[in-house]
Symmetry: C2
Subunit: 350 residues, 2 copies
């Protein structure tokens, strides 16, 4: 199945997301596969058996968010120069979100931009990171603070790569799927409550609907001026959770799951969501073995952390909240005491 992407802000940018067993890919240019040792160990041979190119290089970078730096990007750039890659050469991102973000960013920089395609190997990157054109790296000031908006030429999503994915990472991907459903599509949410993701057909359908929703959002708003902000549901709270736990306790998707539960509590407080709807969302997250509890030690400190987020341009916090299941509302004028009262509930629970 194919999900076509057409960016309306920028003319001439269209590409396809192909959700299927990886097809045979033939190129008439130099190609570099950017990957990490873990993914390469499991799947590189499979990938290489599917690619034909006059020159094919494999560039391996260390696995992990801590290597998502300008330094690693420079290493990749230098390898491309060593191999005399030119303006027609192509990069293939083969891995999760870190590999995708760095490969896209490298492609955007190399001689002011060469083509790249994505072959995401985690559920999170299949449903989320591979759609939208956000590329970049972290630095000592925070995550994704340096980067570019740069679109791939194609995205190949082959669910069979997920067979080797650790269960926790699979669940982390489900968190972003639930996010899309709660924000945009009640039918999809209902589908998910009964879906058995261990069945390949159901998994494919799940990925398709999530990608379609994300594509629909990005098509409207490539550069995050409006509706794309809704994709940050669960992230405002989740980022603080990640930050407080030094990015070591939770996977990003796990922190987002906790963040959604917190956002829901605020939505209930503001009358946007019923208690029972909040419970249903929580139940769906727990069905996917995602964490939904987090003990806030210091409510004031937690609150202060909101303002370190780069999205808060002018010192007012934008909360992305569900308006019922399948709807969303951006609320930016919530009283500090209301927010803190909600946060306190998470301070009390064990």
């Amino acid at each position: 199945m194919i999900v076509p992407i057409e960016l309306s802000n920028t003319k001439n940018i269209t590409y396809d997301i192909i959700i299927d067993a990886l097809p045979q890919l033939t190129f008439n240019t130099k190609v570099a596969v950017i990957t990490n040792p873990t993914v390469a160990g499991y799947h590189l041979q499979t990938l290489l058996a599917h690619i034909k190119a006059p020159q094919l290089e494999v560039i391996t970078v260390p696995d992990g968010e801590e290597y998502k730096t300008l330094e690693t990007v420079e290493t990749i750039l230098n390898e491309l120069f060593e191999h005399k890659f030119d303006r027609k050469s192509l990069l293939i991102a083969f891995g999760g979100g870190v590999i995708g973000d760095m490969t896209g960013f490298t492609a955007s920089l190399y001689q002011r931009g060469i083509d790249f395609i994505q072959i995401p190997t985690t559920l999170l990157s299949q449903v989320d990171a591979s759609v939208g054109g956000k590329t970049g790296v972290n630095n000592q000031y925070g995550k994704n603070l340096i980067g570019a908006f740069y679109q791939p030429k194609a995205v190949y999503i082959d669910p069979s790569f997920l067979k080797t994915l650790p269960a926790r990472e699979f669940a982390a991907g489900v968190a972003e799927i639930v996010k899309m459903a709660v924000m945009f599509d009640k039918d999809y949410f209902e589908f998910l409550t009964t879906a058995d993701l261990t069945e390949e057909k159901v998994l494919k359908e799940t990925i398709r609907r999530s990608v379609e929703l994300k594509a629909w959002v990005v098509n409207q708003d490539e550069k995050e001026a409006g509706i794309r902000a809704v994709l940050n549901y669960g992230h405002t709270f989740g980022h603080v959770v990640e930050n407080e736990t030094c990015y070591t306790t939770y996977l990003h998707g796990e922190a987002v799951a906790i963040g959604m539960v917190m956002a829901n509590a605020l939505a209930v407080e503001l009358g946007l969501l019923s208690e029972s709807e909040a419970e249903r969302i929580k139940a769906l997250l727990e069905k996917a073995s995602l964490p939904t509890r987090y003990k806030i030690k210091d409510v004031d400190d937690f609150y202060e952390h909101f303002f370190l987020d780069k999205k808060s341009a002018n010192n007012s916090i934008k909360f992305i909240l569900p308006q019922g299941i399948g709807g969303h509302k951006i609320v930016s004028d919530v009283d500090e005491t209301v927010v803190k009262n909600v946060l306190k509930k998470f301070g009390d629970e064990a």
Copy 2:
């Protein structure tokens, strides 16, 4: 006078180039001026007297092409993070091409893109570098190999900044002006043969016509897929001259002047240009005190250097040649011996 830029490839991108005394500029966001000690020494006070902003930072980077690196860009990025610049903040490039290229590149990277404006202070950057959206840095593999296409929000060209520009650098700017005239506009060429650029009115008119021509080219071809290649007239030969002399003997514009004379010799050989037209172009370059002679020591070696240029994607050299004065032709199938015979003439002359 205002030259409007509208990029046809990319929707929604329009900005103005204002050629006039620098107006009063008022911003309601954080602003950082990126400059170097030389320009700051001469003109920073003047600039600051024209800018109002709630927070204004001046970031000074070392003067010179050798500092046009990813490392310098990272230093600027870090300073912006230290000053807590956000997505609405603005950068001002205040200097020549190096400052413009690095500032634009930094702006493209900071939180995936913030606004920047250009206030170019050299003739070369006023007529050339400030129009077109090419940003980037050099590395050990060559010039401008890492970068982005990124457009400013406005360009303010104030010719009075040129009063402190060294004569050689002024002349280097004239080389790019002559290039535009020879490639695209015979009237403009005739105007230049009698123009006295020490007169401010004439200088302003000269800049306007050059900027208009460049804008016309870039509007058609933002990402250098077609006609924009014509702007490389003189550069294919000029780059080799720069390379052979380790970028220390000639300013870029001076090497381009020599490169144009060489390209003209090839054009004469191919019947595209008459001897007398070639002489007229040479005379105009010499009127501007530009070098037009260069002794090629090893013709074979010089020829080999063409293939190191990043623009030669598929190992065939594209020569950008004048077709009469005011016309151009891209020729890619010139016989090696014909080229070498032309190069030999430069080997013989002193």
